[in-house]
């Protein structure tokens, strides 16, 4: 995982609540055996019309959304299926952060393990960002703060482990492997009492 400490970008906003992972990447694209190249399918059925052309009404297709690395989404983003293809698709598309007032458990875990910052904001801050698309935010992961163009700042919650992993680009599998002695001891203990 690549380290991530700071993001400065304009936001793009999808106000919809309960954006599910089928919405983020429809199941028919899950026959891939790769994790790369899924950005072209991100929000596929919103992005494209039935004839394959871009849907001009979809927020991400507008000029103002181009190059935005921060997605502000309605409440309960990422619900539904556990497919990790959802954060893979969002990252490949170009997003580095998803902000919402609530993020589904499995999606959030998957995102953070891939270096996609997925954080929950307070209702009032979330509402402000939903209603002000396109503002430039500076997200400081070490400080756990988001700074607005007018200098206003607010903090977000991010557990210490996820924060360290993002900042250092920690390989969580490698780190888990370092605990193999504990795992072996656990197995031996269970074996003995079985």
């Amino acid at each position: 995982m690549k380290a991530l400490s700071f993001i400065r970008s304009r936001t793009t906003v999808l106000k919809h609540e309960n954006i599910d992972t089928d919405r983020i990447i429809p199941a028919r694209f899950l026959t891939t055996t790769e994790r790369k190249g899924l950005g072209r399918y991100a929000f596929n059925d919103w992005r494209y019309q039935a004839d394959g052309s871009l849907n001009p009404d979809f927020e991400l297709n507008k000029n103002t959304s181009q190059g935005c690395e921060i997605l502000v989404a309605g409440r309960n983003f990422g619900c539904g299926s556990s497919r990790e293809h959802a954060p893979w698709a969002l990252m490949d598309y170009g997003f580095r952060a998803v902000l919402s007032s609530e993020i589904a458990d499995i999606f959030r875990g998957n995102a953070l393990k891939n270096g996609l910052l997925a954080v929950v904001l307070k209702e009032s801050e979330h509402r402000y960002l939903l209603n002000h698309p396109g503002i430039e935010l500076s997200i400081d992961i070490a400080d756990r703060t988001i700074e607005m163009p007018d200098g206003g700042r607010f903090r977000f919650e991010l557990d210490a482990f996820s924060r360290e992993c993002l900042l250092q680009g920690v390989d969580q599998l490698g780190y888990l492997q370092k605990h193999l002695p504990q795992i072996e001891a656990f197995e031996a203990r269970r074996e003995a009492t079985a």
Binding site: H16, T31, D45, D105, I106, Q172, L176, I183
Partner: protein, 475 residues
């Protein structure tokens, strides 16, 4: 405090904690059973290969093919007819991966192959007190046995393969008390939809549900699986039901269940799992089972549900209005009478033998409406065999339905079983998201009994309209 009261979740968690969590660090949780399928495992195997790692416990893996697999019979040469070359490649990649990494795969030649959440219990691989994970959110199904079972992402699939463990923080305890007798013709699916309607699709975030009460005790194991299956649709990590005599009876004699003296020992240990009488929960919800009615979804997520005979509520916001437009549903009117194009009976929610029997009892000696196509997809080869022994395949085919090979099929619609844009599907599956069963497809979630009634009527219909055979038998 040496012995504080613990919930079922607390007990399972404590028994699998390799290292306890702290404020700054998640804990390390040991995994007893790892279920894998072709869709969410390939990138994890690749990761292991890139790192030169082996599977720590290949014997703790149960692998099958279910999502991308055709549900039509093999061709004259015995070859599977895949929807796309990519689907075929995904399946063969799992076959190769299992061979290389020493995992027993329940592949095409297995008499057990099926939807992984149907197979696990059938084989007796799912047992009380276990931790079970799978790169699949409906892993919550296995909670019906008092196992802590939850969905994980592919990165975590790799973690479990390599270490048999996961970084985890413990979810909170959420008791859902359900008491009273469900009305006739109302079952676990209706109860699940009713609960999600009450809590919303995010009501369980951060929690594990423990379903409790007289109604839950009265449910069969298959009904309990249906209920636990849909816990994720309310946002919960998992659903749990304390093991009891029904659980033990179901498992006794299954291929992977303990045998002989080991069985007695296991049952004695399982009897200690139910939550202590004075255990406390972070949240609780009371449901009166007598209030539950035959329930269907009317919108584009599983929290938008309504009793079959009640009126669709008015949209509360722009988003709900969009959902009603997408579904072509009118607020203020019941769902009854809407024209149906396709009925899907299947999925890890409702593809077990009792589901098929319930639907078949209504369809027996009747014909489905001429405007309807009906797919019946058994959850596994074991279910298929049992159904065929009982002649249910004949009942479905005589009624005009298609009797298919086991798999996930139209629930996730990635194997070619899908509907056309604008079509309305009454589905016994678990998700009615926009496009879930094909772009532009409208999904109405329902129980097997309601789905069968809809197939007969060609419209959304009340099973009580066919009451001479349905009401009493279903109760």
């Amino acid at each position: 405090m040496s012995t504080s009261a613990r919930t079922l979740l607390d007990k399972i968690w404590d028994a699998h904690q390799v290292q306890a969590e702290t404020e700054s660090m998640p804990g390390i949780l040991y995994v007893d059973l790892h279920l894998i399928h072709e869709v969410t495992s390939p990138q994890a195997f690749t990761e292991l290969r890139n790192r030169g790692l082996k599977l720590r416990h290949p014997e703790r893996v149960l692998a099958t093919l279910d999502h991308s697999t055709p549900t039509t019979a093999a061709d004259d040469l015995g070859q599977q007819v895949y929807f796309t070359a990519e689907a075929a490649e995904q399946v063969s990649q799992l076959e190769r991966n299992c061979m290389q990494f020493g995992v027993q795969l329940h592949g095409w030649s297995s008499e057990h192959r099926g939807i992984v959440h149907v197979m696990g219990p059938e084989l007796g691989a799912t047992q009380p007190g276990m931790t079970i994970v799978c790169g699949d959110s409906h892993t919550s199904t296995h909670g019906a046995f008092g196992a802590l079972a939850f969905g994980i992402g592919t990165t975590e699939v790799g973690h479990v393969m390599a270490t048999q463990c996961l970084w985890q923080r413990k979810p909170k305890n959420f008791a859902i008390h359900v008491n009273g007798k469900l009305p006739g013709g109302v079952g676990a699916k209706d109860l699940a939809l009713h609960i999600i309607g009450k809590l919303g699709v995010n009501g369980g975030t951060g929690h594990v549900f423990e379903y409790r009460g007289s109604t839950i005790s009265a449910l069969s194991m298959e009904e309990r699986m249906t209920l636990c299956n849909m816990s994720i649709e309310a946002g919960a990590r998992a659903g749990l039901i304390a093991p009891d005599e029904k659980t033990f009876d179901y498992l006794n004699g299954r291929p992977q269940a303990p045998k002989g003296e080991a069985w007695n020992k296991a049952v004695n240990a399982w009897k200690l799992l139910p939550s202590d009488a004075d255990a406390t929960y972070d949240r609780e919800l009371q449901i009166d089972a007598t209030d539950v009615r035959a329930t269907v979804s009317y919108g584009t997520h599983p929290g938008m549900v309504v009793a079959l005979n009640a009126s669709v509520p008015a949209a509360k916001d722009l988003q709900e209005r969009r959902a009603l437009e997408y579904m072509q549903v009118d607020a203020g009117k019941p769902m009854l009478g809407m024209q149906v194009d396709l009925v899907f009976l299947g999925s890890c929610t409702n593809s077990r033998i009792s589901d098929l029997r319930t639907a078949a009892d209504l369809l027996r000696d009747r014909k489905i409406a001429s405007n309807v196509r009906m797919l019946v997809v058994p959850g596994s080869h074991a279910v298929k065999r049992e159904a065929e022994q009982e002649g249910l395949d004949q009942v479905f085919e005589s009624a005009g339905a298609e009797w298919r090979e086991p798999g996930c099929s139209m629930c996730i619609a990635m194997n070619g079983d899908l509907a056309q844009p604008g079509q309305l599907v009454v589905s016994t599956s678990n998700r009615n998201f926009e496009g879930r069963q094909g772009p532009g497809v409208r999904t109405v979630l329902a129980s097997p009994l309601v789905a069968a009634a809809c197939a007969l009527a060609g419209r959304i219909a009340d099973p009580n309209d066919y009451a001479d055979t349905s009401a009493e038998e279903a109760a």
